[in-house]
Symmetry: C2
């Protein structure tokens, strides 16, 4: 089983309009509501791959109940610890009048989480470790949780012998990586934010082994660092060497969904016991298929199978 931790889930509501009247009353042409937040995208992707998955997280209020109900509807198993605050909504307005899709988003903050509530989550998390083949820790932390939260969870996983994939940013990423996860999965911007402004401008210009060495320097206690490079594919610094996965055709699309699909595939590769080159082929192809899908957490099987044959993986020396 792959356990996916989602501490700050969301209900993503999208309104599509033919033409928005700002300052007026609008009646959307179409309305979509889906469970959101990076962890839930990862879990939905794993579920679509046929993997045995369990979501652990924090949920509260009307919107938390809504997230739980919509995961049930999608058939994704989840066990949320209840919090007193209200799970966040994201609200996105798509204006059909703007030629290339005018999109305005409103993101609520997550609920304020107390120490007792997190302690309740931690107990459930530790209980789940015994049945877990891998763990994914993904997304933002809600208000009230310290930057060291992922580090705490990584340490508990390591102590139980469960490999953890960490996808976070900023101080939560730095502290989490220092606690020794199996894999950290930053994108270039997240890596640049850790490496500081001087290094960040140079980062994009570097490539291959040099970039991987830098990532390994910043995130040195992780077992492996997999950097998502957008349309340029993936770069991995692992215990089995440094690898590059290239996607032949750049796909315009959904960057959030692509990164989440990569995290899902990396955890999937762990439980399937695949070598690094196969893991990365799986991850790059799934990322490309997810980037082509309009909705994060979804991909078309044919896009994935098409990309799988076209991804080029090579060892970087």
């Amino acid at each position: 089983m792959i356990v996916v931790v989602c501490l700050n889930p969301a209900l993503d509501v999208t309104h599509q309009l033919d033409a928005v009247s700002w300052g007026g009353v609008n009646r959307p042409r179409a309305v979509h509501a889906r469970p959101g937040g990076k962890g839930l995208n990862v879990a939905r992707t794993l579920h679509a791959l046929g993997a045995d998955v369990l979501v652990l997280g924090l949920a509260g209020g009307i919107t938390g109940a809504g997230v739980e109900a919509s995961l049930r509807e999608l058939g994704v198993p989840a066990a949320f610890v209840s919090v007193g605050g209200e799970t966040r909504r994201t609200f996105t307005v798509v204006d059909g009048l703007v030629a290339d899709g005018g999109v305005t988003a409103f993101h609520e903050a997550g609920p304020e989480v107390s120490r007792d509530e997190f302690a309740g989550f931690l107990a459930r998390y530790q209980g789940a470790l015994s049945g877990a083949g891998a763990m994914v820790l993904s997304g933002s932390l809600p208000p009230g949780l310290e930057a060291g939260t992922y580090a705490t969870l990584v340490e508990a996983a390591a102590a139980a012998g469960v490999p953890a994939v960490l996808d976070a940013h900023g101080e939560a990423l730095r502290q989490g990586a220092a606690a020794g996860p199996a894999i950290v999965k930053p994108n270039l911007a997240e890596l640049a934010a850790l490496a500081g402004p001087a290094a960040s401008s140079a980062l994009a210009a570097r490539g291959g082994a040099e970039l991987a060495a830098m990532a390994a320097g910043e995130l040195g206690r992780a077992g492996a660092v997999v950097i998502t490079l957008g349309p340029e594919g993936l770069l991995a610094a692992t215990g089995d060497g440094c690898w590059r996965a290239r996607i032949p055709a750049a796909v315009a699309g959904n960057a959030t969904g692509a990164g989440d699909a990569v995290a899902a595939a990396l955890a999937h590769g762990i439980v399937l016991g695949r070598p690094w080159d196969e893991r990365l082929r799986h991850a790059a192809a799934l990322g490309a298929a997810a980037a082509a899908a309009p909705v994060a957490g979804e991909f078309r099987q044919q896009d994935y199978l098409g990309a799988l044959g076209a991804v080029a993986v090579e060892e970087v020396r």
Copy 2:
């Protein structure tokens, strides 16, 4: 007990922002979520008055569960019949950058209601009639329900000897009024829409007995017609004569909330057995207090008590 029918409830979500970035990602300064729809405003007002109230309606999906949860939290008793569709949300963005409050609203349509679902509601409605001292039928009809829906409910109430207050618009109002409710409560715009374009321009210029006579002509089978005139107060054509209630100081504010408060007060006046002049004083004062409150369904006790002493009610001959 006053039974309040709300066939198309809503969850009203409001985001307040310091400055909206259209086309960007916004993080609201404050978020409010409340049960909405005219019927629920009426019920909340009656609950605040200390009246024994029961909401009957249709609710479905995540948002329906949310509406039920938030009514429970407010202590307002409700018994919704479950529908397969999703209860609507309204989403309102308040832009702090616009001097007099730039407000953009997005209103979802209600769920498509099937014949079987409405039959389930009707059975529950008929069961509730035996314990009801008055009935309020208020607000829009969700997709799938015919314009004659309120007429059906008014007839069932009349057959059980329960006086009904009807607050609707368009064809649902016309047919509902023809079925013989105790009171219909249109505003000038709703009355003008029924009276047709030729009459509508003349309507505002008329006043007193002439306007009441016209309303009685359009809505003749209702026991009484109470017309809300905004800051001009109320005009009532009743079996006990024609009455006018004036509010001394015009209050800028919330027109939706004011109309709903008037409907609540009229039903309250029925169960308290008050004569028309007292009912109208109560209704006009509560409407004025609700207009002064920023949120529909709420009012301040001191505003109500202040208005109660200042309302002037006179018979129009």
